[in-house]
Amino acid sequence: MAPETIILLSTAVLFIPLLSFVVLIFFGNRMPKQGDWFGTAMVFGGLVLAGLILSAKLSRYHDDVLQTLFTWVDFGTVAGIGPLKIELGIMVDNLSAIMMVAVMIVSSFVHLFSIGYMHGDVRYGRYFAYLGLFTFSMLGIVLTNNFWMMYVFWELVGLSSYLLIGHWFEKKSASDAAKKAFIVNRIGDIGMFTGIMILFATFHSFNFDVIFSSMQSGTIPLGSEAWLTAAGILIFAGAVGKSAQFPLHVWLPDAMEGPTPVSALIHAATMVAAGVYLVARTFAMMTADALAVIATIGAITSFIAATIAIAQNDIKKVLAYSTVSQLGYMVMALGVGAYTAGFFHLITHAMFKAGLFLGSGSVIHAMHHALHAKHDHETDPQDIRNMGGLGKKMPVTFWTFIVYTLAISGVPLTSGFLSKDEILAGTLVFGELTGNVLIPIVGFFVAGLTALYMFRLVILVFLGEHKDPARLADIHESPATMTVPLVVFAVLSFFAFYSLNPFGAADGWFYDAIVRPVSVVPASMAAAGSAEFEATLHHVHSNAMILSLTVAGLGILLAFMTYKWRKISADAVAGALRPIHSFLLNKWYFDEAYDATVVKGTLLLTRAFRWVDTIIIDGLVNGTASWTRAVTLGTKRNWEEGNLAAVFYLMVSGAVSVYAAWLTGTAIWPEQATALQAVWYGILSLGVGGLTFFLFYVGVGGFDNRIVDGVVNLVAYLAGFFGLLTRRIQTGKVQTYLAFVLLGVMVFFLWFT
């Protein structure tokens, strides 16, 4: 395959799901089976292409970056910059090729699974269309070579997530969750956008290559190191939103209102991994400080979410918090410098977490049908306290679920063991290099918690006795469209796909293909380089492996002791630690806190502003009108009409104008006034004062009637009076008139000479 072919095929992979969306949204309802086969066939086709691209890329262009550019907007010759263009394009390197395949695998099998799971849904065709839109957006993030498209597809992913979470929008909780997801993501996005603005202000380009290479040659954003770190952290803010990191993690658990396959695709495997992908993409420009922030946020997130997961009773909520926790793990891995491990965990986690969600979907599907058969609409089909003993009735779901759980707990021979072990080793290296012990401690502690809550889930759902034995008879294994994807993801959770050595991820093709990029920030600000990192890794690795196996084993043991053998009573523990338990059950009260501050605060502010707008600003406008009217009418009329406010305003205005006149008068009053001046001044003051009083008493209208018109009438009267006098002159004789004209001319003549 020539490089051009690879680019062309990647573009095809990108647009195939979009085609699926367009066809299904406009014609889905007219197609047989609402077009589910069409959408599914399209993405499977895309998957095949993506697989071909990956194998060609790895075999023939292993270390090359293939990309293409086209001019999207041309600003022409810009003052101070010169020619300015926005060039967009797609890029195929190992990172994007692997990610593309992962996205297509999950998307394809989620499509397949949905055919069974969503059967008979009200908006079945629409659902498949949205899946296509999502896949397109996600591939856009993966294949882009610039920040602009990254942001564009980033938001489009947000849109498709909004549409899919809100698929059952008749439910208030679903539409609330969709809205919340979009808005919380947007908060992260404006951070990311600000980061992009910082970069663009200096580099006048959005391309990763251009930005990174000029950074490498010493240009830093806005000429300051602080802005460089800020840019890194702000771009990471986008990842905080999308990858549900603390403090913006609150949307992801609510997003479980969407159909379960959607949770598998978007809220476990792909979209939420986009944040991790973004950090991996921009890793080279992260300063040591920025990376420390990233590692800390990741650690906090993984810890908070893992503690919450233990206390949840909704099967999807447990998995949701588990996802948040694992995403925190990946982010932490990137932050500590374990670049390859972080991205590796993204891929392995995508497979087993997609499996876990689809497995939970299979369980919910079975529970739903069993409850339906009993006409039971009260019992929650997602509450694990209503389950138990499902393993025997749903063997495929059960055994695949076991595989995923082993993988996420980090048990050897699974993919999860490989990636998790590398991350934990990375945190140890970080601890050793920077002296930060908290991060490795959190890392190992969370590994133990993960094993604990996952086995709690498995035991409560699949083992033991069913809550209502009569219901168990109606529980059936799901159809093949649903079990086949489960098996595929279970198979992909084994080590062999990533490295032939079950205890050494670094020996596999994956580690070969994904190499930590060289930092482009000034050396003084960069984190420890790869060489130093590898050297330290070498001597902590065996410790890390032993430790990670120990904590995972302890977690599993604790789970069996508590929930299977009942040596420890979970209720008693919860009772003894009631405040902590309710704190965890209520998810650390994040939602309540945000609601009380941000949401309530904003609503309060909107009300305050509405008040300001209508009462103050518009009040001034209307006030001008009323004042004008009041002035025209005067106090007398206003008083008669009972318009007391106007009278009051007028009196105030009158007082103000008298005071102003007083000030003016004292200012122009000569130091040594003569008596005559004093008389004139007194007359003038009385006149002005009287006029003002009169003006405000009768109003401008009255003033016009009485004074202005009065003067006119006076003039008319005087004219009449003088007319009477001058009538005498009008003798009717031409001679008399001529005499007067002559007199006039003489007067003018004398005047001008």
Partner: protein, 531 residues
């Protein structure tokens, strides 16, 4: 370019007047021609706009150079011979377009055409309505093609009159209050513009090529040349007190139209009372006249002051963006919410303008166009539901996505375009405005990004309240959007999508001129003028 010896710009400006005369001669009781004549006339206008789009030369800059103007028409209109104390008065019929105005010409033609179809259901004295609508059309188009200040002012005032009647007669319950408020407020602005215009007139002289005598002129291009300012005249010099004062007078005049906080309160009232089509025109075209005036007149004529006041302008832009968004969120009335969202979105235009660089200016002018199309869609959408339900209370609905699926589909395009979703045109212009503004005003721009979140919040909340949830029993029988309504919305939707995916379709027309404008502002301010 001429047809039957008359220039294309004259055609596109005065076609509606011909239509108006035709409408007025339609005998009583004939409904058909009253609708089809305006439709035909505005359709011809759209055709002419398309001709302009395709024959527009993208390499010509315009702004302050006559050679760079396209489709120029120039003739003496009023010529009063010199009197000893006043000088010769020469007012020209001077039309032309450049990259700054061409997008507005296209927008005006498009919105007027759509407004005619949005007026299909008007029952009260249709003849008068259509005549007024067409007169308004001429006024708007004239503002965007006039290059003589006096002519510009005539068109500016011309559009005030029909607007007053269209709101005052065909509006909602409080129409008279809204119409008078609109009229007086705009008139106040006009007076200030008039004062500045007269001051400019007496300060600028050009040589008459025929007689060699110095004459005062209303020619805008002449007013942009610092060399034409008569030494010692009121507005000569750089950064003087009187120049600031004239700039502020112009600014307030245009600010009322935009509208810029705190001169905005006429807008929600006018929108709520105006019939749908008039809201569409008001938001789609009229608001742009304010920002267009700033770019066409204030910036190139007062580059020194424009630079000095760039920061205050950016602050005002920030207030518009955030204040408008917060006020929008507090509204109960669907139409009022959209009206306040306009204030917020026009703030983005101001922010891009305040950047004083190409990215920002391109963003601003592009945002003017996009806001025109997107907000027109939003008002049409409100109109659709108001026609059926006779209420605009946001909480009275719910679940319309089920009762009216097609309507919901087109609504989603408009709403997401308004909240700046990438792939739709609003995003591109917003992003460019912010990118440009960040270069000049970092902190203000970062603060303004808050508007991006707030807009998403109120837009999605509105979608949720009106369209999602269980269908409200009360609106069970509501018919979905009909063919005519689709016809008004779909073209706008297609443009929004096309420009979102490939904005160069329009931007290529703008960039040369706007680059030039940026240079004019930058060099004009630093150039020493004869005192």
């Amino acid at each position: 370019m001429e047809f039957i010896g008359i220039g294309i710009l004259t055609w596109i400006t005065f076609l509606p007047i011909i239509g108006m005369v035709a409408v007025l001669t339609v005998p009583k009781g004939k409904e058909g021609p009253l609708k089809w004549v305006p439709a035909g006339v505005t359709f011809l206008q759209v055709v002419l706009a398309i001709v302009i789009y395709f024959s527009f030369n993208q390499g010509m800059a315009g702004i302050n150079s006559l050679e760079g103007m396209q489709f120029v028409e120039k003739a003496t209109w009023i010529d009063v011979p010199a009197t000893s104390w006043f000088g010769r008065i020469q007012i020209e019929y001077f039309l032309g377009v450049d990259g700054l105005s061409v997008s507005m010409v296209l927008l005006t033609a498009l919105i007027s055409f759509i407004a005619v179809f949005a007026s299909w259901n008007i029952e009260k004295s249709l003849k008068g309505y259509m005549a007024m609508l067409l007169l308004l059309d001429t006024g708007m188009m004239g503002v965007f093609v006039a290059l003589d200040f006096f002519l510009f002012y005539v068109f500016w005032e011309l559009m005030l009159l029909p607007m007053y009647f269209l709101i005052g007669i065909w509006g909602g319950p409080r129409r008279e209050y809204a119409a008078i408020k609109f009229f007086l407020y705009t008139l106040l602005g006009s007076v200030l513009i008039l004062l500045a215009m007269i001051a400019l007139y007496f300060s600028v002289t050009v040589m008459d090529p025929l007689t060699g005598e110095k004459i005062h002129t209303f020619n805008m291009l002449a007013m942009m040349n610092p060399a034409n300012y008569e030494p010692g005249s009121l507005l000569a010099g750089i950064g003087t007190y009187w120049r600031s004062l004239a700039y502020i007078a112009l600014f307030i005049g245009f600010a009322i139209k935009v509208p810029i906080f705190p001169f905005h309160t006429w807008l929600p009232d006018a929108h709520v009372e105006a019939p749908t089509a008039i809201s569409v025109i008001l938001a789609g075209v009229l608001l742009k006249m304010g920002t267009y005036g700033l770019l066409r007149i204030s910036y190139p004529m007062f580059p020194d002051i424009a630079q000095a006041y760039a920061v205050p302008l950016a602050v005002v832009a920030f207030i518009n963006i955030v204040y408008g968004a917060l006020c929008a969120m507090a509204q109960q009335d669907f139409k009022k919410l959209i009206a306040y969202s306009s204030i917020s979105h026009m703030g983005v235009v101001l922010l891009g303008m305040a950047a004083l660089n190409t990215q920002g200016m391109v963003g601003a002018v592009f945002q003017m166009f996009n806001h025109g199309t997107i907000t027109a869609m939003l008002f049409l959408i409100v109109g659709v539901i108001y026609d059926r339900a006779h209420t605009r209370d946001l909480d009275a609905f719910g679940g319309l996505a089920i009762t009216m699926p097609k309507y919901t589909g087109i609504m989603m395009v408009a709403f997401f375009a308004a909240l700046g979703l990438p792939g739709l045109s609003g995003f591109v212009s917003e992003a460019f405005s912010f990118l440009g503004a960040f270069q000049t005003h970092r902190i203000i721009t970062i603060a303004s990004t808050l508007g991006i979140v707030l807009t998403a919040a109120y837009m999605l909340w509105t979608i949720q309240r009106v369209f999602l949830g269980k269908p409200n029993e009360r609106w069970a029988g509501l018919p979905d959007i009909n063919g005519r309504e689709m016809f008004t919305l779909v073209p706008l939707g297609v443009i929004v999508l096309a420009l979102g995916v490939y904005p160069s379709l329009l931007l290529d027309l703008l960039t040369t001129s706007l680059n030039h404008l940026v240079n004019v502002v930058a060099t004009g301010a630093s150039m020493a003028m004869v005192p």
